[in-house]
């Protein structure tokens, strides 16, 4: 899948800038922005949570990206596909996303100051999975956190030469009618961050 940077941890992260110690700030601010935070030990538990979600929302169609790069995700998607329609090919995603009930993608790192996740969405399909379905789940490694927006841009400037990327901070919202907060006006009304303690690169047995 096309990305601004194919390997953020190696090319953009340094130990001074990126650390799990900002997780607490991140979680407080992400929740304040109406994001849902699911912290799980490993992919197995992530899968269980997703199966629950698919069950409870009666999800029929899922569009998902990131499997090509992360074998653990690939495996997870194969498993989920046994229960629901699941599309990972970009043309399939383009065709199916408008009717999909759930989109799944991956974030590169979190920002403590704001509760934002930084998403590398150079590929068309990675954008539509996050925008068209009413629920969006992003996978995140909780060790990949930066302190604030300033440090986030110190990371970004190392690799952002062209393409499409940004932050997502909670679900799509508007307050344009009487300043009443309403979620899901154009994008998802639920934004779920799946933080996998074990990291995303490790294989599931």
């Amino acid at each position: 899948m096309l990305k601004v940077c194919n390997d953020w941890p190696r090319e953009a992260f340094t130990d001074e800038l990126v650390s799990g110690k900002y997780w607490n700030d991140f979680s407080v601010n992400a929740k304040a922005a109406a994001a849902e935070l699911w912290r799980v030990p490993d992919m197995l538990e992530a899968r269980r949570k997703l199966e629950e979600l698919i069950e409870s929302l009666a999800v029929k169609k899922v569009v998902a990206v990131g499997g090509g790069e992360l074998p653990a995700l690939d495996y997870l998607y194969d498993e989920l596909a046994k229960r629901t329609e699941l599309y990972t090919d970009k043309f399939d995603i383009a065709r199916q996303a408008p009717q999909a009930d759930l989109g799944i993608s991956v974030a590169e790192f979190g920002v403590g100051e704001t509760g934002s996740v930084c998403v590398d969405t150079y590929a068309f399909e990675s954008r539509v999975v996050g925008m068209l379905p009413p629920v969006h789940v992003v996978f995140l490694d909780p060790a990949y956190m930066v302190r604030d927006v300033e440090t986030a841009f110190e990371v970004i400037e190392k690799v952002f030469k062209s393409g499409y990327m940004g932050f997502i901070t909670g679900p799509s919202r508007t307050a344009d009618i009487e300043r009443v907060l309403s979620l899901g006006v154009h994008g998802p009304s639920r934004f779920i961050i799946m933080a996998v303690e074990q990291g995303l690169e490790r294989q599931v047995h």
Partner: protein
Amino acid sequence: MAAGKLRYEHEEHEQRNLHKEIKVKLKDGVMRDALSRFVNEYPAARLKAYDNVVSIDRLRDDLRDMKEWTVDHIDEVADEFEASIKARGGHFFRAKDGDEVKEILLKICEQEQVRRIVKSKSMATEEIHLNQALEEKGLHVRETDLGEWMLSVAGQKPSHMVMPAIHLNREQCAGFFSEELHEDVPSDIPYMIHTARRVLREEFLSADMGITGANFGIAENGAIGLVTNEGNARLVTTMPRIHVVILGYEKLIPKVRDAAKILRLLPRNGTCQRMTSYMTMVDGPTPVIYEKDGQLVEEERKQYVILLDNGRLRAAADPKLKQVYQCVRCASCLNVCPIWTLVGGHVYGHIYSGGIGAILTGLLNNMESFSQFSDLCIGCRKCMTICPGKVPIPDLIDELRSRYVKEHGLGLPEKTAFRHILTHRKVFHTLLRMGALAQKPVESGGFIRHLPLFFAGMTKGRSLPAIAARPFRDRTEELFRENPEKPVLRAAFFSGCNMDFVFPGTGESVVKVLQDLNIEVIYPEQQSCCGKPVLGTGDRETAKIIARQNIEAFEETKADIIVSACPTCAETLEKTYVELFADDPEWSERAKAFGAKVREFTSFVAECYRQAGRLMPTAGTEKVTYHDSCHIRRGLGVYKEPRELLKAAPGVDFVEMKDCDKCCGMAGAFGVKYSEISLPMLKEKVNNIKASGADTVAVACPACLMQLRGGLDQQAPDIRVRHIADILAENIAAGHSQAESM
């Protein structure tokens, strides 16, 4: 189609009846409720968003410095941006005005066979009325920001840059939904949101072209940044096969990391969020998958970037006006503006509202429409305390106003009056004395309304002070007999017109307080009005004549300090005179020497009292609250000292009131010219005073004294309004003098 039948409330060149428009807005209960609720909640919500920031001011300085550097290097930065876009395969254009943008865009639409367009909010395209032009050519154009979409259906302009539809309630919104969709839409907010999602989703999926503005454009790599909560900008830049960016030069920033400087402030000030839901950066053409001839294909999306001038480059080259580049369009200056919060955004005319709107209109649109509503800034400077880019809005308005006057002149009666009356002290003072004899406001058309002393049309809702039978200047001889024999200092008193002719008793108090500090007080007879009313109209030439007279009058006295108990005068004497003569080496030196001696009364006395150990808080029973005048709090930065004086005054139990530093609505000529706005401001102030439970409200400014006295007289006659000088003088008379307390 919606925007095709745009029936804007007023077009920009039309001669407007502003008073009538204001009256309509003041009667719009829906809007008034919405705005006042918002305004009450905004300050605390904003601060909460900054809770986890060490220094807001440091962030503001960083942003300002970055923008300052950029505007000073705007050509290089723009060239680099252009090169970055082209290197990535984008098409780049520069447009000198709206017509050029339209020409470029229509050509693109023709070449690319565009029929359907989705837009995400862009002030620049509203500025040039882009939608109308596109629709006239038969193109289908949809705004996708919910607020903008409703307004385009309603044929209205946004009343706020961030919350365009804040003036509407849910019933009105439901009406526009129903009208546009030809179905009955109930005024249920979730239902309406869902409906908007359904309808606009179709638009995203079927559009050929997406048009966006940009919150920033990065020269270093050619990326543009878009900040939204709804996510519509993400869809506009993802679904259609063509992306057009229209951005003004002021949006350019040099480096990727400079974006952080905007992003740490803009969401917090704009929507009280630490970050908006979506912050999107698009850098060059990106892939798009769409259906072509019945088949899905993946291609590079075509990207066209149009950099709009429309007056911006001229502003960039102007040493003063270039400061508008520091604006990031967060609209928070409106949120704290006492005028906007009463009348909303529509009366400002063009697209940008509030004080910053007046400036942008002047620069981008034309000076005629600027001149029509530039008076709606009362110079209270509240906006300057929170603006992320530290744009000196009131100063820029002053600057534009004076340029306008220089070019077009003042109206005839005003011109005659200012030139011939205000510059001749004796004539002016004789007129004032005549006013005293008649004991009623002297009316004389255009001139009188600019003087704070005359009150044509001001009687409703407040009482008028009489002009004193014996002005201060006639009382000095007796007073100065009490001057100390061996003074520690020689102070020249600058009374200002109000204290001279309306509150001479307060002038006496000032003298007594100074004398009690063992200071000799003198009164240069040749002093006149400080010139602020003339400056307010933009007539700097006349103000210079007055300034020279005052400087000369005080130079002769050889006084150590110049004391003024009117903060507006003090600010004018200390700061504005120096600016007035910036290009005149001789007078510039004299103005600086003069200004260096000026002391605002309460801060000066507090300093003396502190040295003398007289600033100890005392416990009293009389509840006293304090109203900060705009000029003392934000013009001079003085707010602790008046409170310290009050807390130390025997018998006083000091209490704060809500919004203690919100303008009382006087603001010089404004209170007269726009009494319909000034009165509700006064009423709010009076309510806050009442709610504080105070018996007395203290002020440090004679203009506020006049306004508050007039208001309380009618609405709460039991509450007294007093200048701090009077409270201090009374205590001295009661025996709490310096000698005793030492």
